[in-house]
Symmetry: C2
Subunit: 234 residues, 2 copies
DNA sequence: TATATACGGAACTTGCCAGTTTCGGATACC
DNA sequence: GGTATCCGAAACTGGCAAGTTCCGTATATA
């Protein structure tokens, strides 16, 4: 049951020393990799690392178990790869909303697609929680695919607010950037309650904005400042 | 699967009123229950639910595996019982510090013994994270032994600050009470960094107090207002 | 002291799952 | 078309852990 933590040469076999081999026969269909990794993410989100079996992943991806082992040497490395592949999806710290106010930016991040993506990432994280402490590779994958992208987005939004003079320059950006990630994770994984738009607005208006010295709008909280309807997406 | 979450001797000394069978022979030594449950908590904190084996618990408690199964019908119910037994230890919402200021109260909660206790509870929670969503009994045990006591303590401290007019009456106590629990859990379990006095002070002064409209003390943050030396305990 | 029960330890049974092998069929290169 | 390789399916192996049974011993009641 221990995680295989070998750092592997992934698929690159022994290099033919002299002649380019110019392989023969059917080629490995690497487009299936994504299907398998997606299936693994699904299963991880539902039953966690120890509940996941290679048969489940193979079945979900309509693949054979042997195909999985042809591509990854062990369950542990498949999972690390699957988590790492989540990095490219979702948040993009280079294309953030810029509404002119911190609250506007934070609220603009709340889109159905983004909320759903964050929800899945949190569930995957929860399913891997008890393994994190014993697998540095997995911890690193989770950090760089889930934790850091989200923290980085927040740091940029707060830094912009500092740069435009909206909030104090000496506020603890590093700590405040973790407020929403921490609270949503706790809410979803520990108390098992939904992380929806209302809850995110409550964090923004009840904790984050007051913490940086801003007053949330007075009226019905969160009702306004929703520039897009519920069906609007990216 | 019947739920047996009794934390004390179920077959108490109450004698059957009429036909008391007056059992014969050696009696079950219920003082061992606590040893076994403590061993289970230790193992859970170290390797999580799926990593924990009944042999490990028995070995740690210097008991036989059969003794465990004489007292609990399954691993799952032993774990639920072990978590439920954590409820009585640590926080006591009826004997909270009362320093006259919210910050004083929050800082007074930071004692080596309390930090250590919270740390262990968080690790246990992390080890059970992926099981919570599929075991309502376990979710309930965690909630009432770990989540609620901590939230209740915070709610009381904030409510007292409201009552004495120190902070606004309309602040979102329910949400703010979850800030520190959420952030410490994330810090310890996800980012794997220590939850020590400095980090707790950073949360108090960098997030919680500003969020309720209070200014933390200006100077070296957290250095003062530590009325007791590092060796002082409860 | 006699008896009924609990105890720790160890052997045992059972089932599951990681990982391997085998096989008939599909597919891309030559 | 020939062939080497990949594919999915299924059978198989081996180890590990949940749960059970048995045994020699300890201990509380009568």
């Amino acid at each position: 049951m221990p995680l295989e933590t070998t750092t592997t040469a992934p698929d690159a076999a022994v290099p033919a020393p002299d002649a380019a081999p110019a392989r023969l026969g059917r080629r490995r269909d690497h487009s299936r990799d994504a299907d398998i990794l997606d299936a693994a993410i699904e299963v991880l989100a539902e039953v966690g690392y120890d509940g996941m079996t290679m048969e489940m992943v193979a079945g979900r991806a309509k693949a054979g178990k042997a195909t999985l082992y042809r591509r990854w040497p062990s369950k542990g490395e498949l999972v690390v790869d699957a988590v790492a592949c989540m990095k490219s999806k979702g948040l993009d710290a280079d294309h953030l909303p810029d509404t002119g106010t911190l609250r506007g930016d934070l609220v603009a991040m709340i889109k159905p697609r983004a909320v759903e993506d964050a929800d899945r990432k949190l569930r995957v994280m929860g399913g891997l929680m008890s393994v994190i402490s014993r697998s540095p590779e997995l911890a690193e994958a989770i950090s760089s695919a889930i934790v850091e992208p989200r923290a980085e987005v927040n740091r940029r939004l707060f830094q912009r607010a500092i740069d435009r003079g909206e909030i104090a320059a000496d506020c603890d950006v590093a700590t405040i950037s973790m407020v929403a990630p921490s609270m949503t994770a706790y809410r979803l994984l520990v108390t098992q309650r939904p992380v929806d738009r209302d809850y995110l607005i409550a964090i923004i208006d009840g904790v984050v904005l007051p913490a940086v010295g801003l007053k949330p709008p007075a009226g019905d909280p969160g009702a306004q400042a929703a520039p897009l309807g519920p069906l609007a997406d990216d």
